[in-house]
Subunit: 348 residues, 2 copies
């Protein structure tokens, strides 16, 4: 069982995903700054996973000397840590959701002794961790029911165990489907520029012994037309309340192509990935990353010296191209605005 | 002026395009076998260019000892050379078109002395070469008229000077448009797996001092939605008589995405790229290349050991997604079957 993030003996350990699949290296994040650096440099990535490590990052900050001496000092520490950790990556909303939980937890427990409050904050981080395990397991089970024997599933980027602390979202469904159904095959889009499909999803599928083929991202349409893709499943970094989905760059094109080939396009996303303040996806901030991610592969240039490149890390898929969103509370279909409202009304 | 192929002092020189953009290396092909090897390994690539080198390859074969002593021997040599060179790559029809010209040229000149006939065959190869210069210049001029000031043009793969012996087809139009119009910019799709966009098109645009940005192939839809692409232009490896277009893998997806974003999608193709025996694109043979092209970049693996990959080198774009085909005889639009019939009726 792959564990991208571990909390052991009061210490935070992370698999350095930039080194996969060549090397499986775990390292300890001792400070909130190290957590922030690991998120920025994508040593840990995947919307649910960065929420979890950020929550632990807050705890790592408040337990380091100088310890706060009053509740106000502690709350101020928490707020500053949340602000610092919140600046690491702008698109995935799970990060802000987890940090908000830590802040609210501090505010709601002001009457405790400070040492107890620190323990309560640790417990909150551990709750976020454990919830992700339950939630992704539930999503995997629910989503697997949408798959049929013999299906070839295409997936993009990595929404597997490495992107969460549980079994993964989209890839959790794939793995569960491969257990439940016979003849499941996978097409893995390599996912330029960071090659999460080639590096991480391939690594997870190999460990799970599920048959797959790697393809370049631009081959998807060809295989759709050939009838070689039965269903597409991806994760999400932020879902708006009308069902618009921000996810890894390339998702939008894939969704539109699936739509016009009459191939179901499913998004797997825990409730923590929904931005309940956002009416539609147009306002989701899209992270622009270093152009060197496009112009260099394996530390070698792939183009001319001085080449300029664009590098949006995510795109937004309008809900009309989404067949269903698979959450731990069930499967949501169009009309998404109404059905998501109902879903969350029951929750609160 | 970039010359991918040169015939000088009765010798054939080729730029080794697998070494670009790092090194500009020219090498001599002394034998038809070396020509075939250069085509197979994509040292020379691009539909028009491989037609031209194959024609010279035939000549290199017949001028080597043992020389044919009768017309029948010479014709048999030509036919064997054409068979050998025709096995190098299956999709681009210009290869077969050029080889057919060489064969017909031999058949039509049986009454000449053998030494004269060899000279005639050399002249035929040189005609194919010179025609490509004229034809691509004409396509560039015609296509540039479809572009407006300030347009951002997206292109895929490399259909430039390196892919022809003239100014290129799709990229010839881009360069001509940048001369004729103000504010032309280019988005270059990197074109996995062989990265012809990143390596070759970027190199040509840099030499031409035309501003461009490199993007990964999966970013195209995002920039289309953002209104950052005004027109897409690509080359072709084979066009059927109903306007279906075989071109570098990724073209079909790009065309479909352009269509649904109301962005004109133009194909630039000389008459030699049309397969006049083919009613539609379904029967175009699609070359499957070594999966290592997908699983390795710069000689380093990008995925897990033993990973399986699929590697179709081309795809077929149905004519409904093609706004126009730009040829040296003019611009062809839907209904393509009728309009192509008319175009070629005038020609013969």
């Amino acid at each position: 069982m792959i564990k991208a993030i571990e909390w052991k003996h009061n210490r935070l350990f992370i698999i350095d995903q930039t080194k996969l699949p060549g090397k499986l290296v775990k390292f300890e994040c001792k400070t909130p700054q190290q957590v922030a650096e690991a998120i920025v440099n994508m040593k840990v990535r995947g919307a649910p996973a960065i929420g979890v490590v950020a929550a632990f990052g807050v705890y790592l900050g408040i337990k380091r000397p100088p310890l706060a001496k009053t509740f106000e000092q502690l709350l101020s520490q928490v707020e500053k840590l949340c602000a610092m950790l919140g600046k690491t990556r702008p698109t995935a909303v799970n990060l802000f959701w987890a940090l908000d939980r830590m802040k609210r937890c501090a505010q709601n427990n002001r009457d405790h002794k400070l040492s107890t409050l620190r323990d309560i904050l640790l417990r909150e981080a551990m709750n976020i961790y454990k919830e992700d395990e339950r939630v992704t397991k539930s999503i995997a089970g629910t989503g697997a029911e949408l798959i049929r024997d013999g299906d070839t599933i295409m997936t993009h980027c990595n929404a597997g165990a490495l992107a969460t602390v549980g079994v993964g979202t989209a890839l959790g469904i794939v793995v569960e489907a491969a257990h439940k159904h016979s003849g499941i095959k996978v097409l893995v889009g390599e996912t330029r520029p960071r090659l999460q499909g080639a590096r991480l999803t391939a690594w997870e599928l190999k460990q799970a012994r599920i048959p797959f083929h790697l393809i370049t991202d631009n081959m998807a349409a060809h295989f759709m037309k050939k009838g070689m893709i039965n269903v597409v499943i991806v994760g999400a970094d932020r879902v708006a309340m009308n069902g618009d989905v921000a996810n890894k760059i390339g998702t939008y094109g894939l969704a539109m192509l699936a739509y016009h080939h009459n191939i179901p396009f499913y998004v797997a996303a825990p409730v923590s990935t929904f931005d309940r303040n956002l009416l539609n996806g147009d306002l989701i901030p899209i992270e622009e990353r270093d152009p060197a991610e496009v112009t260099m592969i394996n530390d070698k240039p792939i183009s001319v010296p001085g080449v300029k490149a664009l590098n949006p890390a995510f795109d937004v898929t309008p809900h009309r191209y989404v067949s269903a969103i698979i959450t731990e509370l069930g499967i949501v279909r169009a009309p998404f605005d109404q059905n998501l409202k109902n879903l969350f009304a029951n929750l609160l």
